[in-house]
Every structure is written in structure tokens, then in C-alpha cells.
Amino acid sequence: MIAGIELGLIYAVMALGVYLTFRVLDFPDLTVDQSFTSGAASAAMVILHGGSPWIATVVGFVVGGLAGLITALLHTKARINGLLAGILTMTALYSVNLRVMGGKANLALLREDTVFTPLREAGLQGTVTGVLLLLAGVVLVKLVLDWFLYTDAGLAMQATGDNPDMIRSFGVNTDGQKILGLCLSNALVGLSGALIAQYQGFADIGMGIGMIVVGLASVILGQGIFGSRTVVVATLAVILGSVLYRLVITVALQAGLNPSDMKLISAVLVVLALVLPQLSVFKRWKRRRTLRAAQEVQADVSSSTEHPVTAAIAVPSARRRA
């Protein structure tokens, strides 16, 4: 159980990256599957060559970002469809990652010092304190991301995913925003990969396969349950979603399913999370919520002014759109 939560927190960094492309930029980025491995592989190589585990972690972050840069350039400069750009980068990276790992499919880090070694030696791994320390680390990443999305640059990035025509008319180069967003997103994914490799003691060429689905499951599950009203809530929901996802996996394993069944479970979970909200019960509940929010806005707006224009412009269309 504790191990599930720990894993969930480390994978949450990856899920935050997926949130940035999938939700903020509205860009379906499949690079994630291999940029995760790239981060893990490069970090593992740095450690195996005697580098500091902290430097290795930073290298994982940077390498992930470079993977994102390739997809971004393919999409914005070469005008390749976003989905295809991600698939192309992902496919190419598989070979690159094997090269990075010196042609081996698996690199063991069991005897090496990792960023988790101090935790383990202090006997904190697998304890509540260990979880809290990891949580603090993930929350720090979340807070930095929140802060960024509320800056001038971050608002421009949010608007790029939301309404590209509008943000261009206010002087923002949407291509630049996509490049920045994809780099940042995959850097987080690479960072997560580097940490997972150190946590589980090995980097594997197949460790990233299906990672995008895991990321989506965390984002959709988390935001479905905990909401996404503001950026602060949305990123918190992603972290909780990631932990929840790991707990579901842990329970499924304890129920006797094979680890090899996990990809199937991930996919089914995402399908459920996407389909359930369409059922009439949820739909009605959601519609009511939107309607209420719109009415609140209109009530506040119109009660405050007696100007005739207000009354005329304000009234019924919120009801229509809800």
C-alpha cells in the first residue's frame, strides 16, 4: 500500500507533464512513452559512470525536455500533425534509448547510490515519513507549475490551448508556446523516469510503454473526481489521480491479476473515466453545476448595476449555453 502511494507520487510528476500538454495546451503528445525511458536511461548511465544521482536526475529532466523539443519542432516547423509528430519521435527514441543504454535492454542500479539511498539507509522508505517527504517534493513541483501558469507567460500558454486565434491577435506566437510547453512537459516526464529508475533500481527499455495511458488515467481520473476549476485544483487533482491509479493497480495485483495485465487495466480505466461522465446521471449533475455557476455570475453582474444595457445584454444566453 505504502509502496503504491510512493510510486503514485513519483509518477505524479509525469502526470503533471501530461496535464500540461493534454489539458493546458490541448495537444495529444505521445512522445511521453519514450521520453520517460529517455529520462530513466540517461540518468541510469550517469549514475553507472559514477556521476552524482542528483546530477543524473537533472540530466533526466533535460533529456526529456530535448525529446519534447523534437516533437515540437516536427509539429510547428515541419507542420506535421501533432499526433504523428509524437509517434515519430517516440519510435525514433526507442533506438536512441537503446544506444544510450549501451545496447542493453536493462541497466541495474541496485548497488549504486541513488537519490533514494539516504531515505533507505535512514529506514524511511516505505514509512509514512518517507511518503510525506516524497509528497513534499511533488507538491514543490506542483507549486512551481502553478506559479508558472499564473505568470504572463503561463497565461499566454493557457490561452494558446484554449483559444489560439485570440492569443495570436494579442501578439503571442502560438508555435513558440507549443515548443515551450512540450519541452517543459517532457522534461517533467523525463524527471519522473529518472526518479522511477532510481526508485526501483533499474532502467528498462520497455518501462515507458503505455506511459501516456497511465498519465491520461491519472489526469482524467483525478480531475473527474476532484475537479479542475482552477489550475491549483487541477494540478492537485492530477497528483491525487496518480496516487489513486497506483492504488487501483495495487488492489488489482492483490486480487490475483498478473503484472502483465496492468496495461489492459490502465486502458480500461481510462475508457471508464471517459465514458462514465457521459452517462445521464453524471451529465445532469454536471449541467446543473454549470447552470448554477452561470446564474451566479449573471446575478452578481446584474444586481450591481441598474444601467439598462446590462439587463439587455446579460440575461438568458448563459442558460442557453449551459
Binding site: 484554449d162 486565434d165 501578439g171 506566437n173 455570475v297 444601467h307 439587455a312 440575461v315
Partner: protein, 301 residues
């Protein structure tokens, strides 16, 4: 302030669908001018606006803002000087962001965007003051998502967002066309007030002849990618919707074939006044369903 010289643009050149959208358009707009642009569908009005804004790069010709040649600059680089309001009320603001966040984005139009906080207390104070001028009560819901506003509110907000950071040139692309007559009327009122108060150099495309005559100090009429004629302030003050319709009808004899079908004429004749007397209904071409059409109906069709 804005000069357009011999601008040409052909879409789908070299194919059966080839269409000349702008066929040598030249126009000089002086500082403080408010030019309204009318013309039938496909006359090139929107293409003209889009070449000025940078959404479309012209095939040839030159566009200058002041002394700067901006002909080939992409839209986001022209935003420093040029600001625009779209026809679609949903296009001018970002629905998942709040009112104040949208204002913060608009405030930095055409400038670099760094890592300073988007919405600060000082800026919020400024946004409140600006929003008050709309008299829509939006200043009380700075934190509400824009997606919760009505079309009319969003278009008024778009207008404020496009203007409060003092652009050199304001482009309005049929920005009241997607609203119902009453809301269109109010957004037109706000437009008039903002443009006058801030003395903005404005180019406004409209389908509405009454609006085109009432607003602004100059009027140009386009047809088949050219500027057909222009009215200065004096001529414009005297012209009536009937005069403009007569000009449209003249086109038919020149071209030797109907330049405009009934639907276009009716759309063009649609009045800005929302208080259309239903008893003065539309004669002919009921297919347009123009409930707001005043009694100006095409004759001799």
C-alpha cells in the same frame, strides 16, 4: 496612419476554384479616422481586414502602419500596433480563463511576456476601472470564467480587451453580426463610445448599411475585390440607406448580370435598430428570416 497600397490576393490560384479576393486595393486611413466598410458577400471586405491584421499575407502590394512596412509580418508581430475584434463572440476571449486573466493577457498585447505575475493587485485595480466603463457589472466578477458570460457580454469584453491598451489601429470584423438585434445595438453603442473617447483609428467591416452610415467619419464600399466608391464625412452625413442600395443596384447594370441576390441585399439592408416594427415586414425573400429587417426591401427584382 494606415496605408494600403495596391494590395492583391488570389485564393486557390491556378485551380478551377481560383478566386480573386483583393484586386488592387489602395486605402489611406489617417489618425483618428473611423472607416466603415460595406459590400456584398465575397466583395473582399474580410480579406482586406485579414491582410491588414496579418492573418492573410497578400500576394503583392504594400501595407504600412505609420512609416513601418508591415506587409509580410505575421499576425502576432503586428499585434503591437493592430488590435482586432472578431465576428464570433467566442473568439475574442479565452473561456477557461477568468475575466481578470483575460484582461491581463490583453494588457500585454504585443509586448514580451515574462515570469511576472499575470494578475497583480495593481493591475486588478486598473481592470476594475476599465470594466466599469462598460457598465455591465463585469467588474464585480473579475474571478469568473469568461465561458460563463453571454455572447453580448463576451463581445463587449472583447471590445474592451482590444482597445484599453491603446492600439494604433482597431479592426472590427462584423463584430455585432453574430448577436441578436438588441445586443448588437448595445455593443454598437459601446463601440461608438470607446472609439470616440479614445480617438482610435478604426476600420470596421459591417453588413449593416444603417450602422455603416451612422458610425464613423468615412465609408467605403467594396465589390469584387476593389473599392468601388468612398464617402467622406460630408457625403456620408447626407447619404441614406436608400442611396447605398441604389449603388448596389447600379452594379447589376454594370456587370450585366445580378451582382447581388435577394438574400445578400436583404442582409445588407438589415437595420441596426432593434425596434423594427413587425408590421413593416420584409417584402420578398422571406427565406432570409431577417426578423430585424426594417422596411428597406429591394425593388425591381
Amino acid at each position: 496612419m494606415l496605408s494600403v497600397h495596391d494590395v492583391r490576393k488570389t485564393f486557390f490560384a491556378g485551380t478551377v476554384n481560383e478566386r480573386v479576393a483583393l484586386n488592387g486595393v489602395s486605402l489611406t486611413v489617417d489618425e483618428g479616422d473611423f472607416v466603415t466598410v460595406i459590400g456584398s458577400n465575397g466583395a473582399g471586405k474580410s480579406t482586406l481586414l485579414n491582410t491588414v491584421s496579418g492573418t492573410i499575407i497578400p500576394d503583392s502590394g504594400e501595407i504600412r502602419v505609420g512609416e513601418r512596412d508591415v506587409t509580410r509580418l505575421p499576425e502576432h508581430r503586428k499585434a503591437r500596433w493592430i488590435s482586432r475584434v472578431f465576428q464570433d463572440p467566442m473568439k475574442g476571449s479565452s473561456p477557461t480563463l477568468t475575466i481578470e486573466q483575460n484582461m491581463a493577457i490583453a494588457q500585454r498585447r504585443g509586448r514580451s511576456r515574462g515570469l511576472s505575475r499575470g494578475v497583480t493587485r495593481a493591475r486588478r485595480q486598473e481592470f476594475t476601472e476599465e470594466l466599469k466603463t462598460l457598465e455591465l457589472g463585469l467588474e464585480n466578477r473579475l474571478g469568473a470564467k469568461v465561458g460563463l458570460l453571454s455572447g453580448g457580454q463576451r463581445q463587449a469584453l472583447s471590445l474592451l480587451m482590444a482597445t484599453f491598451s491603446a492600439p494604433e489601429i482597431l479592426l472590427l470584423d462584423e463584430h455585432t453580426a453574430a448577436l441578436d438585434p438588441q445586443r448588437a445595438h448595445h455593443v454598437t453603442e459601446i463601440t461608438e463610445r470607446i472609439v470616440n473617447e479614445r480617438n482610435l483609428t478604426t476600420l470596421m467591416v459591417t453588413h449593416n448599411m444603417e450602422q455603416a452610415l451612422r458610425l464613423g467619419n468615412r465609408l467605403i464600399m467594396m465589390h469584387e475585390g476593389r473599392i468601388l466608391f468612398e464617402l467622406d464625412a460630408e457625403q456620408k452625413a447626407e447619404a441614406t440607406v436608400a442611396d447605398l442600395l441604389a449603388e448596389f443596384r447600379k452594379l447589376q447594370t454594370v456587370a450585366g448580370e445580378p451582382a447581388l441576390d435577394d438574400a445578400t441585399l436583404l442582409e445588407t439592408a438589415r437595420s441596426a435598430e432593434p425596434v423594427a416594427d413587425p408590421s413593416r415586414g420584409v417584402t420578398g425573400g422571406a427565406s432570409t428570416g431577417g426578423s430585424s429587417a426594417a422596411g428597406v426591401a429591394p425593388e425591381g427584382q
